[in-house]
Symmetry: C2
Subunit: 226 residues, 2 copies
Amino acid sequence: MPIPKNFTPQIRLSAKEKAFNQLQRWIVDGTLEPGEKVTDIDLAEALGVSRTPVREALQLLESQGFVEMRPGKETKITSIHPDDVLTVYPPLAQLQALAAEMAAPLLTSEEIAELKALTADYELAVKHENIHEAAELDEHFHNLITDVANNPYVRQFSDVLQLHIRRMKYVFLNQSASPKLQSAREHWQMIDALEKNNPEKAAEMMKQNWLRPMKDIHQLLKEGKK
Amino acid sequence: MPIPKNFTPQIRLSAKEKAFNQLQRWIVDGTLEPGEKVTDIDLAEALGVSRTPVREALQLLESQGFVEMRPGKETKITSIHPDDVLTVYPPLAQLQALAAEMAAPLLTSEEIAELKALTADYELAVKHENIHEAAELDEHFHNLITDVANNPYVRQFSDVLQLHIRRMKYVFLNQSASPKLQSAREHWQMIDALEKNNPEKAAEMMKQNWLRPMKDIHQLLKEGKK
DNA sequence: AAACATTTGTCCGTATGTATA
DNA sequence: ATATACATACGGACAAATGTT
């Protein structure tokens, strides 16, 4: 039997990583509510580890803006307000625009084909009101472009900002932000620009593709708050 | 004697913060060399604290890309290569362009006046070959715009990326990247666009103002490596 | 192959600081 | 103002993992 080398490069997850992943999930899906006070001792018990890895995880989450630690006083999950969508989306849109710009000259025809397939499937999912699948396909579309752009900072910053957005959708909209056909149209135009190796146009479409949903969601939240 | 209130809002720096600040300084100025292996125990001794705050600081530095921790194996300062300038500058240029775009409608006439003063002083410093002062004035110029943009993510990401650039200048160029009059010209055009509340033009000039030095430095490094 | 040396990872006790009564 | 309760910050000892002899 041929033994695959590096089948699982890292099955071992340290307690810190487990704590980090779980806490981040809990914050994003709202299990840990915005503004909620937490103590390392309680979290440690809930996670089945000691306080040290919990504290380390909390500090990383703080650097990502999910947790607020006041030295010697308290640790709490960061609050979020509807207007925060206007803070998170613009830098993400800008970084994603750069990703498209950088990916344009690098994309292979196979990758272009995959973008087309993802967008076609996305359209179908939207038409069938398959919201969850549409969201995943949209995510894959953007991740593929970000991967090709091959810039670790763009990758990391985008990931964090996307998590903040996902959190706001969970908390404010019960995760049901309806995907739009308009987004698919923007994707097609973006693909067209990428195929023609037109980085500026691709970047412009990418920026629109993030800023339009921002406006939609912000409008939704303003109405909901009335 | 009148006691000034809040003379120093936070004189108390935790051991973790002290360790973080010092280590970051040492990495940026090259005291801790790229690729150098470090042990928390040695650093703890050097900093006069225990391992815990050192480890916490190292983990934050890892999330910023300054340190690489391999579980159970070793901790080392991240290596840098000349081509890394092409990785760091583009996202910074893009985020700074967004900062200019967002600042445009928010800038007061006083702030515009300050930008003009900073740029005028910058020109003088360049002409007098006062490299260090020119660098500081340039930094102030960009920081002011970033502050006005008032976006915590743009602020934080920009700060980290700027530190990476400073590190590369220290390590590769002995910190002597000569400031250019061309940069001042771009600043004047940017100010003009900001005054006219033309966010797109201001963003375009900002992006140029970061990408041009990137090309200069990259060219310098390619020549130096020959 | 197995024991060793080194370094990181984890645990938990204690000190310090903050807020409340 | 003092004391008390509480949570975080720090320290040091032990455990686990890795690479080597």
